[in-house]
Symmetry: C2
Subunit: 461 residues, 2 copies
């Protein structure tokens, strides 16, 4: 990075908060994307840690005048390389913008700076009894700003939906440096085009999110986790459809191939309680009353029996529940080092049994495996193509395209929750029409005519 820019940044945020040292910079260059598909980053990039929107505004103005790309780095928990600077960029780390501005119990809204992590928010909410924020993308190191920028989902989307449903206001810095407030503590607001909804999920390419206002909810008092073993994934997914149809709204419905659960438990030094069958379902319930919890359990039990679930384990204590969730979440560790390409496809939930069946056959025809973790009730599947002898298999691109085509055949999408980032820019063109991509590009030009915000993410301009 040019010395003039370094000087300007030091002058703006203070020398303690500008990182030029390569080793120190490294942890800001990537998110949690698999090593094998990491974007090539430009290490001449510089990292700055502004304290507030005003400082960001000044940095953005400078960057605009000098046509220097800007990449915002949140918690770095993304999985598609969205935070990697592929050009020589100013990387803005939001870590110092970590103030919880307000927990407003009167309006059941919170206002936080974008750098507040999910862990921090949860800790703060524990001081206010009986109030919760429901979205949980798994890694609590995620920052709220990043969760808005990527419209995060996660396991609890079954009952509570995704970020989009809960965010009511944002403060953003536009690419021209202007600070703009959109929405507020309002439950209803129909004043013109909803720019808030447009910016949500735009992955740092339209504006820099600096502050967030979102809904809080009364916490359900009664929870339980149930783990069920099915013969196969078809039975498991049909059971889930019928459970939902019966009016049960679980907090989460997590499917995982037995192999992943057993291996993950091994790594964690825990015991996975199921052995019969090969397809495991973890259902987490949260209800307002014990009666409601019991009624939901009854329905689940009856439906799962019908689909030949061979064993159900109820986890009542917090410790048991946490262990099961840890095993589920730990499965990534089992396969992480061996991933050649990682998927986040989603199909209409009712098509899951057929889609997964076809997916299994397709993978099998290549003489390989592709273990499945799925938010089954949402139709969202995580699977992978693995490396062979530490290298990408020859069939990688071919199998990938066949998987996508299968997904599109079922009316699916190539990313249900992880987003496009730098990983799926080309993939996007397989799914979207030219007209839609052209509209997206034109909107990008409206917000960011110099293409300085996170170039090479979502769209190739």
């Amino acid at each position: 990075m040019e010395q003039g820019t370094i000087d300007y940044l030091i002058n703006t945020v203070g020398s303690d908060f500008v990182i030029t040292n390569s080793e120190q910079k490294l942890s800001y260059m990537y998110d949690e994307i698999e090593h094998n598909v990491r974007p090539k980053v430009n290490m001449d990039s510089i990292v700055v840690k502004p304290l507030n929107s005003k400082e960001i505004s000044e940095i953005v103005k400078y960057a605009g005048e000098n046509k220097i790309p800007i990449v915002v780095h949140g918690g770095g928990t993304g999985l598609c390389g969205g935070v990697s600077p592929i050009k020589e960029s100013i990387v803005i780390s939001m870590e110092r913008m970590n103030k919880i501005v307000e927990i407003d119990e009167k309006n059941m809204m919170a206002v936080v700076e974008a750098g507040v992590t999910l862990a921090q928010l949860i800790e703060e909410l524990e001081k206010h009894s009986g109030i919760c924020f429901p979205v949980h993308p798994g890694d609590e190191g995620a920052q709220m700003g990043g969760m808005v920028a990527t419209n995060a989902g996660g396991a609890r989307a079954v009952k509570h939906g995704i970020m989009r449903n809960h965010i009511k206001g944002i403060e953003v810095v536009l690419p021209n440096g202007e600070i703009l407030n959109l929405g507020g503590k309002l439950l209803k607001d129909n004043t013109g085009y909803n720019l808030l909804q447009l910016i949500m999920g735009s992955e740092g390419t339209l504006a820099i999110i600096t502050k967030i206002t979102f809904r809080l909810y009364p916490e359900d008092k009664f929870t339980a986790s149930i783990v069920l073993a099915f013969e196969n994934i078809s039975d498991a997914s049909n059971a889930v459809l019928e459970i939902m149809k019966n009016g049960v709204a679980p907090l989460a419905v997590e499917y995982q191939d037995r192999y992943l659960n057993v291996k993950s438990a091994e790594i964690l030094g825990l015991h996975w309680p199921l052995d019969k069958g090969m397809a495991d379902l973890l259902i987490i319930l949260s209800e307002k009353s014990e009666e409601a919890l019991y009624a939901s359990c009854q329905i689940i039990n009856n439906v799962c029996k019908k689909y030949n679930a061979s064993k159900a384990v109820f986890a009542g204590t917090k410790k048991e529940q946490a262990e099961m969730l840890a095993i589920r979440s730990g499965s990534y560790e089992v396969i992480k080092e061996n991933i050649a390409y990682s998927f986040d496809m989603a199909v209409p939930a009712g098509y899951m049994p057929d889609f997964l069946n076809d997916l299994w056959k397709l993978v099998d025809s290549y003489g390989t495996k592709s273990y499945i973790t799925a938010h089954l009730a949402d139709g969202n599947v995580h699977n992978d193509i693995y490396m062979v002898d530490g290298k990408n298999p020859e069939y990688l691109e071919e199998l990938k395209m066949k998987m996508y085509k299968l997904c599109f055949k079922y009316g699916g999408t190539l990313t249900g929750e992880h987003g496009i980032g730098k990983l799926r820019i080309r993939d996007l063109t397989f799914q979207k029409s030219k007209a839609e991509i052209e509209l997206m590009k034109s909107i990008k030009r409206v917000f960011d005519p110099n293409n300085i915000l996170n170039p090479g993410t979502v769209l190739e301009m």
Copy 2:
């Protein structure tokens, strides 16, 4: 309208479906906006009734080439003049595009053409036991396309949220005539900028919505309506906040000044059951079980006693519930003829007691009244400035601005659900920054460079 255009339209949709007769055209020129604030329409406009997206695409292409404005007419149940053609326009009535394409129980999704009315949808869903679509803006003559275009709310938004939360896919005709499909039967989809969310609420100015895919839900089996009388609106709104805080999620929480309920009942030949106090609350509950219904009723009862509710009437039968709702909805008839200006302000829900108190004082200082109907739990208020001796009062603009300023003081918005239409274009500039309006205008130009779609709605271009 020029003969060439008339001929083209007759050629495209057939002579039976082109209306040139002034008397027949009249019912397509307005929505339900009060007579006093009706926009001035251009009666040289022509009405066409296309059968499908392809016909609409052809009409739009022709209109684009000839720079003729297009206004889409749905159910005509709007309240801000959105459907009125203020320039010589082609008015596209969606009434023939009324096919329910699919009730997909497997995916719990419905696909309908944009001209399907809410009444028609409800009737169809009754054939599929236990399935419902929750949004209900009051007038069942509303078409689904219009409900998407305006991001409709209504009484049931308390529990189920607004249209935006439930719509998963749309087919639109762009101003260049291209037919575009956005989203699908997907619960999660993070592929690029969410144009679906941008078009929702854009009031027919960005694209013509022709088909809609939306979620269906298992219907709650147990319902009850409770009517409560409070001394004043402050007590009523504080009670509502506490009820919600206690985890009760009513289907609807409708407030109405006693005067409106009594007069509305009179007009309908019904009896309003409350007499003590002056502030009436109608709470509608829907729950999965009788126990849950009873538990919610208990909480409501306890909280309302604390806030001195003097009488509670439980309506258990469908007939009783329908009567109460009819009286609530009929209140518009009481004041309709006398309205000089009609409001749809919303403030953060927790500020409602203070806001309503200040609003009452403000209105009182002008020696007038402004009866209130409110979706209390959503912070959404409907009130009016009345005519004096059949004319707009001198203080109209002054009082209106003071009401808005009061609303903004509480972090409010000038329209919670009704939208901007042609009624509030100037008002929008009081609330929104120049930067935000400029972004909206630029987005409008991206979609509709010739400004042919519903000119004079939302934005003055």
